[in-house]
């Protein structure tokens, strides 16, 4: 085969957002189809699922390489995309009868409360009713086909990716409207007699053929773009255009004729085909328990040997960071494992893990190995001092860490990084040697608090499967442990555990529960921030000043940390660092930094709390409201961290390989070749990255606003009062969002690369 063609066939680039959208739709459909198939197999036979999935697969094929790769060079490739999107994908999707499965696949609570008001909206119902008229669908389909192939619009789509995407969306939407009355997916009702669909399709075939013939037989090239495009395999633009016309003619007519044939056979053979037999009642499908992540996955996650193995691997990485940090090259830091691994890779990946799954960073934390050793020491443990309970020790350590990160340039100092890792091992060992188990994680570990706080946005949580089973339990092994398994080290009693705060995902409770009643369950991200119940080991959020302060610190640090590495600020600071001997410069900068991190936020919180309590007419609850509103800011902070650290990962991901190669080579084993330092140069990132960062920040703002609104509604019954209560915090969140947008648009220091 021609090497170029084989390269094209091997290539595959799925656009991120459409790919994720297809994944979500497939997941919802399969989730709903499983239930409906069990209830009414006659109406939802398995082949419908196959048709729907084939439609989605064809959609991905249409928008991804190699077709998309060729669409700018060959008209026939582009026409094939349009043919697939308008003529092949829609009937397959409708054959899957997707309306009921998709609705059923949406979580019940969201379906009822979230979608319900929209589905019952008369204006929307009228609009949908009008759009689903066969005449409207037919006209829109052909209007779309003709309009988008008009040279001016077509060239516009070729020049701009955004217009190109919109063009494809139009073809898909028009195709769906065109095919809807033909397929009539359940529970749709026929608007026209079934027989009318035959001329409907035949007339479409005539129009389609006329349109295709224009391309196939024209003696001039319609699109200047293809005249200028480099010719592949010496295919002339005119031949390319004729091939595109033929493709549309044959491919379009084929599907229309098949549809006519099926319709006619359907009408002749079985008049009652659409009279669906009364569904046979099947045994009730499993209830909410079905969504529990049980089976092999949970057994793996809860397996102690596997966890120890992964912790061992993490400990080896930590050891490599320490050894390279102590004895490896100090500059540039991007050449040292201690300069890239913790700051560029692990932080960003831990955040992604929190967003996609849960706090598995804590579950695999290597420092718990030293804790485990300390717990084997035979003496009696002391009680954790009352004054150090809560999150204040971690707050102070986090503040110290953020300060040293910037002013002692920890990120640029492999030696300092190595000492921090060593201090972590020593601290966790000492804490667990002197005090009862788990105090380090619960009260001291700054990284742990970072994970705990942001795991409120995770889609998974460890929970009791059935609270009634817990009520009959007298041993409380999940909390206290038993002879074989330890209980929860952070004092979380499973029946009263709410959300992910203070949960290290260690699964000790899952293993300890004698009733097999603990497991991983899906959780609604950020739901935890909206409710104020009494939580085991935590109390109420509205009474936890330390927790609110920690949340505020993490949120403000996300912005201050990013501002501090903007190119202009970094250059200004660099001049200061060169004069480090002049202490006044350091003190002045530190004072500014403390002002931005502590003083200004404190003042703002007091002011917003007063305004909010006054607006809501509940001055007595000022403190409680402020605490909960600060926690509601966590999503915004999280997505700011994600945008920021994701940028460093995108620009500096390549620096790990040469640093690792250098470290291995330095050991003298000669296993690795010479490091390729060009990989450690800052990688240019696509313009799409900023779009993704902005979308992420927007999601954070929406989650924050929603959580704030729900908090306000829990304190003010009247809507106007709730608006008054939430307004100051909402405006503040929008202001932070604006600041985040500005920060992300600025040139940022390429930390973790040779360009830093």
């Amino acid at each position: 085969m021609d090497p170029a063609i084989s390269e094209l066939l091997r290539s595959g680039s799925i656009p991120l957002l459409p790919g994720l959208a297809v994944g979500l739709v497939a997941w919802l459909y399969l989730r709903g189809f499983r239930v409906l198939h069990a209830r009414a197999p006659e109406r939802f036979p398995a082949w419908r699922r196959g048709a729907f999935l084939a439609g989605l697969a064809l959609f991905l094929l249409a928008i991804a390489s190699p077709l998309d790769a060729l669409s700018g060079l060959l008209l026939e490739a582009h026409m094939l995309q349009h043919l697939l999107l308008g003529m092949w994908v829609p009937p397959l999707l409708w054959l899957g009868a997707p309306l009921a499965p998709l609705l059923r696949g949406v979580p019940a609570r969201f379906r009822k409360r979230g979608l319900g008001p929209f589905l019952a909206w008369p204006a929307l119902q009228r609009a949908v009713h009008a759009l689903l008229q066969p005449a409207v669908g037919w006209l829109l389909f052909f209007a779309t086909t003709w309009l988008w192939h008009w040279p001016r619009l077509y060239e516009l789509a070729l020049r701009s990716q955004a217009w190109h995407d919109f063009e494809h969306l139009c073809f898909l939407a028009a195709g769906l409207l065109f095919w809807f009355p033909v397929v009539q997916p359940w529970p749709a009702r026929a608007r026209w007699p079934r027989a009318a669909m035959v001329p409907y399709l035949l007339l479409a075939g005539v129009c389609q053929s006329g349109f295709a013939a224009l391309f196939a037989f024209s003696s001039r090239v319609f699109y200047a773009h293809y005249l200028a495009a480099p010719r592949l395999w010496a295919i002339s633009p005119l031949a390319d255009q004729a091939a595109a016309g033929a493709l549309l003619w044959v491919g379009g007519s084929l599907v229309l004729l098949v549809a006519v044939f099926v319709l006619v056979v359907d009408m002749l053979e079985a008049r009652g085909l659409h009279r669906v037999a009364r569904p046979r009642r099947r045994p009730e499908f499993p209830g909410p328990a079905a969504v529990w992540l049980r089976g092999f996955g949970l057994r793996c996650l809860a397996s102690r040997p596997l966890r120890r193995l992964l912790q061992g691997a993490a400990a080896l990485l930590a050891l490599a960071v320490v050894v390279d940090g102590l004895w490896g090259p100090a500059a540039p830091s991007a050449s040292n494992l201690a300069g890239v691994l913790p700051w560029t890779h692990i932080r960003a990946l831990a955040l992604l893990g929190l967003l996609l799954a849960g706090n598995f960073f804590c579950a695999l934390c290597p420092f718990t190995l030293s804790r485990g050793l300390a717990q084997k020491l035979p003496w009696r443990r002391l009680a954790w001092p009352r004054v150090l309970r809560g999150k204040w020790p971690a707050f102070a350590l986090l503040l110290l860490f953020f300060w040293s990160y910037e002013f002692l340039r920890v990120w640029d100092s492999p030696l300092f990084t190595a000492w921090i890792v060593l201090a972590y091992f020593a601290g966790s060992f000492l804490c667990d040697a002197l005090f009862s188990s788990g105090r380090f994680c619960k009260h001291v570990c700054p990284v742990g608090q970072f994970g705990f706080a942001f795991s409120t946005l995770s889609p998974l949580e460890v929970r009791a499967r059935d609270v009634q089973t817990c009520e009959t339990c007298v041993s409380h092994d999940c909390l206290l442990g038993n002879a074989e398994q330890p209980g929860c080290a952070t004092d979380l009693f499973l029946p009263r555990k709410q959300g992910n705060l203070d949960c290290t995902f260690c699964m000790d409770c899952v293993r300890a529960c004698p009733h097999d009643n603990a497991g991983l369950a899906p959780a609604v991200p950020a739901r935890d921030l909206r409710i104020d119940v009494h939580r085991s080991g935590m109390g109420r959020f509205s009474q936890r000043t330390d927790l609110a302060a920690l949340a505020a610190l993490l949120v403000f640090a996300a912005f201050v940390n990013a501002v501090w590495m903007l190119a202009p600020v970094a250059q200004w600071r660099l001049r200061g660092v060169q004069d480090l001997a002049r202490l006044d410069s350091l003190w002045l900068e530190s004072a500014l930094w403390v002002g931005a991190m502590v003083v200004v936020p404190l003042g703002l919180v007091v002011l917003l709390g007063r305004l909010s309590a006054w607006g809501g007419g509940v001055p007595a609850l000022r403190g409680a409201i402020s605490r909960r509103m600060l926690l509601a800011l966590l999503p915004l902070g999280f997505f700011m961290w994600l945008g920021h650290l994701g940028f460093h990962l995108a620009t500096g991901a390549g620096s790990l390989m040469p640093a690792a190669a250098r470290a291995v080579r330095d050991t003298g084993f000669g296993l690795a070749g010479a490091p390729d330092w060009s990989q450690a140069m800052p990688q240019a990132v696509a313009g799409d990255l900023l779009s993704l960062q902005l979308v992420a920040l927007g999601v954070g703002l929406l989650l924050t606003l929603h959580a704030s609104w729900r908090v306000a509604c829990s304190y003010a019954v009247a809507r106007r009062r709730a608006l008054g209560l939430v307004a100051p915090w909402a405006l503040f969140a929008v202001g932070l969002y604006g600041l985040g947008v500005w920060i992300l648009d600025q040139p940022m220091q390429m930390r973790g690369t040779w360009g830093a």
């Binding site: 680039s13 994944g23 997941w27 991804a64 390489s65 773009h225 902005l694």
Partner: protein
């Protein structure tokens, strides 16, 4: 459910592993024939503006038009009127398939200022003669809103939908 979870998980993994750049290489800004090769330069976005840009090169055998896949190309990009702004020349390696199309050698770079730029396509080995030099006009950078209007509008669309949802919910409650 397992099928659903697996399929979603599989797709997410595929998305994370697969290159996610759009395969649109942009608009042809020029082509030249030299040393038996035909060089076509494509640029995206179009029109080019100061800021991030992607240049793609299609290298073909001038006689057969067969794409050449094993070349190692580099782009030298410099402002034609450096007196306007002191901008250092940019040299980047064009990697085949980096832009999503395996036939094209692509490179992303940042064009710091507007003006007339010259893109010289050559082999990575700088001692070899250049294959083509093509001039392109770069317009001033677009505003943040123009570049990322869709992403920026997302929270406000979300807010509007939420407001509508609250309104409809209240109306439903009143009716019932």
């Amino acid at each position: 459910m397992f099928l659903a979870t697996r399929s979603l998980g599989g797709l997410v993994v595929a998305l994370l592993c697969a290159p996610t750049a759009g395969a649109d290489a942009g608009v042809v800004v020029g082509s030249a024939v030299a040393h038996g090769w035909r060089v076509s330069l494509l640029a995206s976005p179009w029109p080019l503006r100061a800021g991030p840009a992607e240049f793609s090169v299609l290298l073909q055998d001038a006689a057969t038009r067969e794409p050449v896949l094993d070349a190692e190309l580099a782009l030298d990009v410099h402002l034609l009127d450096p007196a306007r702004a002191p901008v250092a020349p940019i040299r980047v390696r064009a990697v085949r398939g980096a832009g999503g199309n395996p036939l094209l050698h692509s490179a992303r770079l940042e064009l710091p200022v507007s003006g007339r730029w010259r893109v010289v396509v050559g082999e990575v080995d700088a001692s070899l003669p250049a294959l083509a030099g093509i001039e392109v006009e770069v317009a001033p950078g677009a505003s943040l809103l123009a570049r990322h209007g869709v992403a920026l509008s997302l929270p406000f669309v979300g807010l509007a939908l939420f407001g509508l949802h609250q309104h409809l919910s209240r109306r439903l409650t009143c009716r019932s």
